[in-house]
Symmetry: C2
Subunit: 259 residues, 2 copies
Amino acid sequence: MDTAGGRSDEETEVPRKSGKTLVEGAYETLRQEILDGTFEPGTKLRTEELRARYNISGSTMREALTRLLGEALVTTEGQRGFRVAPASLEDFEDLTRVRVLVETEALRQAIAHGDEAWESRIVASFYRLSKVEERLAQNQKSAISDYEERNRDFHNALIAACPSRWLHYIAGILFQQSERYRRLALSRRTIARDLHAEHKAIFDAAIARDADLACKYAAEHIERTLTALQFALEPDGTKKDRQAGKRAKEKEFTPKEEA
Amino acid sequence: MDTAGGRSDEETEVPRKSGKTLVEGAYETLRQEILDGTFEPGTKLRTEELRARYNISGSTMREALTRLLGEALVTTEGQRGFRVAPASLEDFEDLTRVRVLVETEALRQAIAHGDEAWESRIVASFYRLSKVEERLAQNQKSAISDYEERNRDFHNALIAACPSRWLHYIAGILFQQSERYRRLALSRRTIARDLHAEHKAIFDAAIARDADLACKYAAEHIERTLTALQFALEPDGTKKDRQAGKRAKEKEFTPKEEA
DNA sequence: GTCAAATAAAATATCGATATTTTATTCTGT
DNA sequence: ACAGAATAAAATATCGATATTTTATTTGAC
């Protein structure tokens, strides 16, 4: 009884562990692969290819693709399929500014509304983050994926007490977007940066309930991500070659990839 | 040659006028129907029902539904289908505050960057809006749908010169959401409101390039939408019955509809 | 009578096949 | 040679049918 439709119980790339729909599986996996650069910005996403990759059917794959549309990780146009959302330094600059606006407000509200539970969660996630930062400083590669998770946890913990669902929703989308850029930057030249100090500054101010100071540090923290990527793209620090800067600014990240 | 899959050329509810995919058609129509309250908040959206309604197939309908997910007009959970996103006064309060934050910033940037073309577009759309406001004041029902379009145009024109794509993207989602609430309020008791005066205040300040003033009026304008809905839900203006207010605040709009 | 297990009905998620478009390739006339 | 029409190949969008789950209903023991 396995002729036409329905699921088979053969091996599936995307394991459907515990009540998780196939679409959801493909959706999450694909999102991950877009974020970590497996599919570079601008790349065409052929349904047939992906369908085969995730061992699911066309319509199902289509649905997964469509979900990513809502997170602005994928674009689609009329009758010519899907592709990974384009990325550019210009877009990242814009994204960063908006992120500052949104996360800063969320943080401010969190500090205003946060209770003891909020504080303790911050303390805990900051501690966990610090631990992995140590490992990172020693260049332990195994630490990288841990770092990403704990960094996200810390950021979430900070704004957790913000009561605005809409701010959380928007902040989530923006943070995810910036993750993509952060990883793009990682694959190139990295800038020296004392992440621990940045995090600690925000942490201290938040615990001290100094909203203005916490927002100031948070804004700087976010903006430094942008600086890092700008640096990665434009190694030439001298003021001479300003054209290079302009060129880099206009440059899209989408590499050779088919147009 | 019209046995199994593909399109037929029979009549279709959703006309595919000029290169517009069937999913897009269903998606747009359904969005409209959610916004205007044809499908009330919380309503279950059975694929079979909708599939039949729009004369398309199941998977295709599914895809349309999935798109609305990204605009937060529809929700989905595990293996139990889709439903219209819930609505509550609490959510609208939150939405309103975030809208003020975002639109205010967009307006500020627009005023900073706007050129003559921007100004003239505002002048034009304000004029058009004023005209329809006159008709509205005379209680011409035919004016309502025109008003909605021109109101949106005016708001868009105001922030059109804001260079941030992300702000536009977010503002778009939020505005759409608030449209749903506005129409929900319309179906109930309405509050006396001089919309023309509100619009004119924003208009004048924008043209005068007074960002602070324009933002102030815009914020008040947005917040008044909230006041209007609060009033519609809580006709009792006396301070006596504060419990009613609390009750109303917690109340979800999703009426009798199946849970 | 009531609660829970067993069964039936409804609804969801998924599939594989096909029609329609878009893109690439081959002609063909100047 | 080369632009443009004609054809072939590839890719997209869509369908109708089926397996899997969830929800409703019946049944049966205590």
